[in-house]
């Protein structure tokens, strides 16, 4: 009779967290969650609808969605082949390439914007010729927003897709080759379908990153309402003139983030479907 009760007491004690860990853990949790809750509390829910459909906000939202989507397409077109190159080719110095690809991931986005300006600006290394030969000038245009967002967001896609490629069994590609498939056909019909979940995850992540991009965008594309003022820029601007609008814009972005997180829940927070 005494033995089971002792066992039970012991399991109870084991379930309790040590205070040294529990307190910082709870503070940490609060630190991450309270600001978001605070924002939701401060949200002027009664005028939310009006704010959301006001011209300023609608414009910024639309521009953000379009630019983020275009940037994502650009990242897919360039990033998936780049991931393939990093994962599958026997290129020398692949490790160095991989490191280079991940630089924009850790680089402060403002620095990225400066770098883009120096290269693609009207007097930049490449921008000069773009302007001279084609009359194209990227800085301070909507196209510039797309470029800035793609620059910052592409590493997310490349890393996700490369990871999927490394995890995929390359023997299936060999099987396809023995069946007469060229490398391109093999990539399209065998490799890509097998890494589809990784590509989807990378795409969503890339899109979310592009949507939230601030530093590189404002540096490279400036802040012109209707042309380059995306949601994050609008939030920043509105904070000085119309804090209510800033909150509404922020809530919209928060909502988008949550949707992204939910759509990736299996992969990122280990939830079961």
């Amino acid at each position: 009779m005494t033995a089971p009760s002792r066992v039970r007491r012991r399991t109870v004690r084991r379930g309790r967290l040590p205070v040294v860990l529990a307190v910082p853990a709870l503070i940490g949790l609060a630190f991450l969650v309270v600001p978001l809750i605070g924002m939701l509390v401060q949200t002027p829910w009664s005028t939310l609808g009006d704010q959301l459909f006001s011209q300023e906000v609608g414009q910024a939202l639309l521009l953000s969605l379009v630019c983020a989507s275009l940037a994502t397409v650009l990242c897919l077109v360039l990033g998936v082949p780049l991931a393939w190159l990093l994962a599958r080719s026997d290129l020398p110095g692949r490790g160095v390439l991989r490191a280079l690809v991940t630089v924009p991931l850790v680089l402060p986005p403002v620095v990225g914007g400066v770098a883009l300006l120096l290269v693609l600006g009207r007097r930049g290394l490449i921008g000069e010729h773009l302007h001279e030969w084609f009359g194209v000038s990227l800085p301070f245009t909507t196209a510039g927003v797309v470029v800035a967002e793609a620059f910052v967001a592409m590493p997310f896609l490349v890393i996700a897709v490369e990871g999927a490629l490394r995890g995929a069994d390359s023997r299936f590609e060999e099987a396809a080759a023995t069946l007469g498939a060229s490398r391109w056909l093999t990539f399209r019909r065998v490799t890509l379908p097998s890494i589809a979940p990784g590509v989807v995850a990378g795409t969503v992540l890339c899109w979310a990153r592009a949507l939230g991009e601030f530093g590189a965008t404002i540096t490279f594309a400036g802040n012109f309402p209707g042309r380059t003022t995306t949601m994050p820029l609008a939030v920043y601007l509105a904070l000085e003139t119309d804090p209510g609008a800033a909150i509404v814009l922020s809530v919209v972005l928060l909502l988008v983030s949550v949707v992204v997180l939910v759509s990736l829940r299996d992969r990122w927070i280990g939830g079961t479907p």
Partner: protein
């Protein structure tokens, strides 16, 4: 019209040297222990691995001749059945089989029609729409075979085609595979570590150990006259090397042996464990080989007991459980082993 290959592949410390010919309609089995280089040879033939030196030719076409020529796998007339089949999981059985014809330029409808014909030939017409995961091991193997053969390749390569199956399926799948191989007019190379697969499916067996050919011949010949301990073990025979003069053979590892047919020079002696009798005392005058041995190990098989015996030479004996009881055999027991001279095959080493 023959596959002629002289495969030399060096990978780190491993070296494969394998001359190989396969005639049209012939099935050659590459038999050897794991790590012998069988799969390396198969990959070289498929074009998944370039040879270091040597060449590969099918009919008049040169597939690989370093340094100047290498034909990639997609341009070789080759069909491969991989060890775990590697069926494309996102495609149905039919689409898997149609993949090859499509990749080789056939339009979708014709490719599907041909795939359907082949699925029918392997008896899987009813499973055309199924994904590979929904197929049993035996069915997946047949889809893989159909996928490899649908493009009518000049060379069919099978990598351990039965290894992924459980024992109950294997017998049935093996006989159906034998039937399809008999109908296939091209050259077949089968890579396996299972001697039974090689014996049943192949017209000729090439045995590879440590990247080298150690024996080659028809299955019956290999089964009767093994040349290495590995092969002897596979086919279940006692094998010794020795030097003969007349009917007496001095064994390399100690002891001597009397054989029925006179021979001279280096020879192999092989006999079945069932040819070995065990006695408590020295048997009296008969044309037998008799020598004292010590029981090292006793193993129960289906209806016989295999006894491993140490002595000059050591020997395996298959006896009945009655003999074990009669002689009171247990590890460490000392008995006499006898073998009739006529039971032993003698052939030049």
């Amino acid at each position: 019209m023959t596959l002629r290959a002289d495969l030399h592949v060096t990978r780190g410390a491993f070296r494969l040297d394998l001359p190989l010919t396969v005639e049209p309609g012939e099935v050659v089995a590459l038999l050897g222990p794991n790590g012998a280089g069988k799969t390396t040879a198969l990959r070289a033939l498929a074009g998944l691995l370039p040879v270091t030196s040597g060449d590969i030719r099918l009919d008049d076409a040169v597939w690989d001749r370093p340094p100047e020529l290498f034909v990639p796998p997609e341009n070789r007339a080759v069909g491969v059945v991989f060890q775990d089949y590697l069926l494309f999981n996102h495609l149905s059985a039919l689409e898997n089989v149609a993949f090859g014809p499509r990749a080789r330029g056939l339009d979708r409808a014709s490719a599907r029609a041909r795939a359907r014909t082949w699925l029918d030939r392997v008896g899987l017409a009813d499973h055309a729409g199924k994904r590979p995961r929904a197929l049993s091991g035996g069915q997946a193997q047949r889809v893989a075979l159909a996928r490899a053969l649908v493009t009518e390749p000049g060379l069919l390569l099978l990598d351990e085609p039965l290894a992924a199956l459980d024992a109950s399926n294997r017998l049935h799948v093996r006989s159906s595979l034998a039937r399809h191989l008999a109908e296939y007019p091209g050259r077949t190379l089968l890579v396996t570590h299972d001697p039974l697969d090689a014996m049943v499916l192949a017209d000729r067996i090439v045995i590879v150990e440590h990247g080298q050919v150690v024996q080659e011949g028809p299955p019956a010949e290999v089964a009767r006259r093994p040349r290495t301990d590995y092969v002897a073990h596979l086919v279940g025979l006692n094998l010794y090397r020795g030097v003969a003069s007349g009917t007496g053979v001095r064994l390399d590892d100690g002891g001597s042996f009397t054989v029925a047919e006179p021979a001279t020079g280096a020879v192999h002696i092989a006999f079945s464990p069932t040819a070995v009798s065990l006695h408590r005392d020295v048997p009296e005058g008969s044309p037998r080989n008799a020598w004292p041995v010590t029981v090292a190990d006793i193993e129960q098989h289906a209806h016989t007991v295999r006894v491993r015996l140490d002595g000059d030479p050591p020997v395996l004996a298959d006896v009945t459980p009655a003999v074990i009881a009669e002689l009171g055999l247990s590890p460490g027991a000392r008995v006499w082993a006898t073998v009739k001279a006529t039971e032993a095959a003698v052939y030049p080493a």
